[in-house]
């Protein structure tokens, strides 16, 4: 019968619609589970870093300034307080691999000892660094400096007298 066929077709459509509703409800119920699964804590950050230490010698030369080879593009030298000097020379450059909590030492050209420690690696990442500069048997210069820095940004410690100028130490974390 045609009417029976039509009625069966309607029933089939209603069943299809009911199944679709059921599937949608199932998806809505399972989505929070997917959120929960993907909200698991991220893997721990590697507690190590590489710090590039660049030691510069800054002087004021009345005959004209220059930036020595090996320093590279460092436009910060054109800004205060570095702009008080016009001549920069690269004294040393060293990369130190830091492990969290393990101090690394590096002897500066003026005989003082730089000690750098990776204190922590935060999300981002951001590195918590401790630094000290001292000379055994002599007065302290820098007991402790703690900074938090993102990678690839250079911060400086400057002011030590050396050969008529000052030493500028640049630290860049990678």
């Amino acid at each position: 019968m045609t009417s029976r066929r039509v009625r069966k077709g309607g029933v089939a459509l209603r069943r299809l619609f009911a199944h679709a509703l059921l599937a949608g409800a199932l998806a809505v119920l399972l989505l929070p589970l997917a959120k929960l699964a993907s909200a698991q804590p991220p893997p721990p950050l590697p507690q190590r870093a590489v710090v590039e230490v660049m030691v510069l010698h800054a002087t004021q030369n009345a005959a004209g300034g220059s930036i020595g080879p090996g320093i590279g593009n460092m436009p910060q030298l054109q800004q205060p307080p570095f702009s008080a000097f016009n001549t920069y020379r690269l004294l040393a450059k060293q990369s130190l691999t830091l492990q969290k909590g393990v101090p690394m030492t590096y002897t500066l050209p003026n005989g003082r000892v730089l000690q750098v420690t990776l204190s922590n690696v935060l999300a981002g990442p951001r590195y918590e660094i401790s630094a000290a500069i001292n000379q055994p048997g002599s007065n302290a210069y820098l007991n402790l400096l703690r900074v938090t820095t993102p990678p690839n940004q250079t911060f400086f410690v400057a002011g030590q007298q050396f050969q008529g100028g000052v030493i500028i130490i640049g630290f860049t974390l990678h």
């Binding site: 949608g24 910060q76 307080p81 008080a84 210069y141 820098l142 820095t149 911060f155 410690v157 000052v166």
Partner: protein
């Protein structure tokens, strides 16, 4: 199919008790108001009564007997197969939709965006996007100390007219004994 033929089929279904709902109400009105339909219904009922009396079938439902003779199992199987196919199709579509929803959600979580991956930023962009930059947390020194914060800026154009972005930086200036702090004016 003509209207007259359709009406005849409807009346036959009505006589057999196959209709319900709107169809039942519509055909019931039809047989009450339409003389031909009413006559057809009476004829069908008379034939049915005659057959039942002749063969003394009593309360046996002729429709069921006929349907069983035809091949009821085949009809049922066909209906079940069709239903199963529909269910499989719906469940499959639902699973595909679910997988797509989970996929997009996980991509959203991992990338922060949906459907479009941001290009990898260069170092200079990263530096300028970082509002905090280097932070000096603590300084301990017996000497005088000054901290200079150098904000991000753009350097002057070089010989080729190119400019470069200067990342923010910090200078910790520690006076060495009696060394004077440098002049900060350019």
């Amino acid at each position: 199919m003509s209207d007259q033929h359709q009406r005849m089929l409807d009346v036959m279904a009505y006589a057999d008790g196959e209709l319900d709902g709107d169809d039942l109400e519509r055909v019931r009105v039809l047989v009450e108001t339409d003389a031909e339909a009413k006559e057809l219904l009476a004829s069908l009922r008379a034939i049915g009564d005659g057959v039942r009396q002749s063969f003394d079938v009593g309360d046996i439902d002729i429709r069921d007997v006929v349907m069983q003779k035809i091949a009821p199992n085949d009809l049922d199987k066909a209906r079940l197969r069709r239903t199963a196919r529909v269910r499989v199709a719906v469940v499959g579509a639902a699973l595909v939709a679910l997988a797509a929803a989970v996929l997009f959600y996980v991509r959203d979580i991992n990338n922060g965006t949906v459907g479009k991956e941001a290009p990898a930023p260069t170092q200079s962009v990263l530096a300028s996007a970082n509002a905090t930059g280097v932070e000096v947390d603590f300084v301990d020194t017996p000497s005088a100390v000054s901290v200079f914060y150098m904000p991000a800026s753009v350097s002057g154009a070089d010989e080729e007219g190119n400019t470069s972005e200067i990342a923010p930086s910090v200078v910790v200036w520690v006076n060495d004994d009696n060394t004077k702090e440098p002049e900060t004016t350019p």
